[in-house]
């Protein structure tokens, strides 16, 4: 528990800040289509070229090989610079990359990781199914071994950026006879294979945030299995722990800026003089401050490369509640906001997914109760 300002850290932050000031895209991110994918790819390519891709990834896969602490600083500076927050590379950096680093074969790491860093191949996630949400392990998308291929049939849902992705991390059932957690395989799915049909799902804010993906006898090489056949549940747990790790930290930190902005709006429109608003803003700001300190606590209590522990679920549970409170607060600060379509109402609607997507908050609280507090299932 110590903070000693040192020249190296200061220089890293300074360089990041300077580079970002000059390189963050100024043009707005396209709202969809190939233009969106190209925008995200170009921004990722630029970061790679500048030496800012994969700060904590190993040098041999194209990363910078620095510590998690520098990775946190980089995320802070991204948010500070107003860099694009969303990216079709989110799953690649937050899920697939860390999973491959933890569980992939040497060949897989060498092949896939550099492509991500260079901004070539967006990834998407295929875990949930229409019948398997909270109860992920009950998934039923089938994969049958046929020679040196797996033949995949079924469907996946809530796949963000599915239509832009080149690869998918997909869980399939390879052994329907085994106990439900034991017959699952984690598969690298090339998303352009024949037999794959991707259909966008419109969300409550009117935008297609994710897709349903249908697999009809899609043939995938066995070499695309991560770890081994039927051991995918354990790999998926690595993925989910990574998801809740510092991977998506820029998203969490962006809520610091969201509250900064809200305070400014409320100061301008006078609502900050309303204690019913000011009290909530103060609590929201304190909570977003904690989002940052939790990241520092996490990275300074975790050995690099270790699988993040259940505390990552605590961070996530805390975060999703902050998200929704900030969104509601924004609505209450802007007077007739709830009637008129705006950035504020869209965020408010979009953030309803915070306590659902990637595991409902009910399940997250179960996990914390059981794994952190030792309560019975």
């Amino acid at each position: 528990m110590k903070l000693i300002p040192d020249a190296d850290s200061a220089r890293f932050r300074e360089e990041a800040r300077t580079w970002l000031a000059e390189n963050v895209p100024r043009e707005p991110r396209p709202s969809g289509g190939e233009a969106l994918k190209e925008f995200d790819q170009e921004w990722q390519r630029r970061q790679f070229a500048g030496g800012w891709a994969g700060i904590d990834w190993d040098v041999e896969y194209g990363g910078r090989g620095l510590s998690l602490l520098e990775q946190v600083v980089w995320y802070e500076e991204l948010v500070r610079a107003g860099a694009p927050r969303e990216s079709v590379f989110a799953v690649a950096f937050g899920h697939a990359g860390p999973t491959l680093i933890m569980r992939g074969s040497e060949q897989q790491k060498e092949f896939y990781l550099p492509q991500i860093l260079r901004g070539e191949t967006p990834w998407s996630q295929g875990f949930s199914e229409p019948g398997s949400g909270s109860d992920l392990a009950s998934l039923s998308t089938r994969a049958v071994v046929d020679g040196d291929e797996l033949v995949v049939t079924g469907s996946k849902i809530w796949t963000s950026y599915g239509e832009y992705s080149d690869y998918g991390e997909v869980l399939v059932r390879t052994n329907p006879e085994a106990q439900k957690h034991k017959g699952i395989t984690w598969l690298i799915m090339p998303m352009h294979l024949p037999g794959i049909d991707i259909r966008p799902i419109r969300s409550i804010d009117g935008f297609p945030h994710n897709c349903e993906v249908f697999y009809d006898e899609v043939r995938v090489p066995l070499a695309n299995v991560v770890d081994r056949v039927d051991n995918g549940w354990s790999v998926a747990m690595s993925t989910l722990s990574a998801e809740r790790g510092p991977g998506f930290l820029d998203h969490r930190l962006s809520y610091i800026r969201a509250v900064d902005d809200l305070i400014e709006v409320a100061r301008d429109n006078g609502r900050l003089r309303d204690p019913a608003i000011a009290d909530r803003l103060a609590q929201a700001r304190a909570a977003t401050a904690a989002l940052r300190s939790m990241a520092y606590y996490q990275v300074t209590s975790t050995t690099k490369g270790a699988q993040p522990g259940p505390e990552t679920t605590a961070i996530r549970t805390f975060f999703v509640q902050v998200q929704q409170e900030v969104a509601r607060l924004a609505l209450d600060i802007v007077d007739t906001a709830v009637l008129e379509w705006s950035h504020t109402t869209r965020e408010w609607l979009a953030d309803f997914s915070a306590t659902i997507a990637g595991g409902t908050i009910d399940i997250q609280r179960n996990v914390i109760g059981e794994r952190v507090m030792g309560l019975p299932r």
Binding site: L3, A286, Y296, T300, M373
Partner: protein, 323 residues
Amino acid sequence: MITLVPDEEQREIAKSVSDFLEKSVTIATVREQSLTPDGVSEDLWASYADLGWLALGVPEEVGGVGLGVAEEMLLFVELGRRLAPGPLRTTILAARIAAAAGREDLVAELVSGERRAGIAVGDLVVDARPGDLLVVLTETTGSLVEVAATEPVDGVDPTTRVARATRGATAVDVDGPFLTIARIHAAAELLGVIEAVRDMSAFYAQTRQQFGVPIGTFQAVKHRCADMAVAAYAVRSQVAFAAVKFDAGEPDASFQAASAYALAARHAQKSTADNIQNHGGIGFTWEQDSHLFLKRAHLLSRLLGVLRDTYEVVLEPPRNDFI
């Protein structure tokens, strides 16, 4: 270089505090001493002084141990967890104020346990007797005022003394971020409270059976326990961040400290109430300890003035600039 995890020396400080309290300040001790006039025995108070707890954050050149707020944080977490009796929080603060003013005489009196300090809250004082000092804080100053006389009033937290006081002379009045320090201390003590009720609830939920299963099987209980674990993690992170920022002299320390205190106060109030609910009927009795934590949480949430004073500091910076 930053780390929010205690290093070996810090872990030893925390362990030595914890070991002493485990041996000498059980909850039975807390209850016994709550019935005494001062709320803490002379012996126990002397032990605090002997152990150096009152001098932990006071510079060595004026007779202190010379450690930082980070180390004090670890002390206060343990004190909160054990509901340790006696006005440590205010006496420690008073010693820091006296030290800042160069009043070595007062420092010596305070860290030796000879003299104690309470604090002014609205028109009340907490833990102040005639002859004690009274800590009076603003955002940028700290004062120590002689307590001339007191008229006790019944307090809510049975382990704390509340009174109306007649003030005497001002002994010290000095500039310094004492309110920021006090917020970190109070947030740390609140963290101890949260961790204590988290563990109490988890234990009860694992052992109390209803409908043939431990009550922790039921989602309502389980989720309230989970919320306490989440709160503890968030508050610990933020208090530690504030503490190291303060010790490093960073300009956002007062913001981080105010955030820590606001967060800790909110979650300690909720966690201690949920803890009563988790315990059901027994949690509503005087003999069970839940209410002591509830009352301590509310005391600490009010001790540094109304929370809105803290909120103002939280809201003050236009931007969080990631320094």
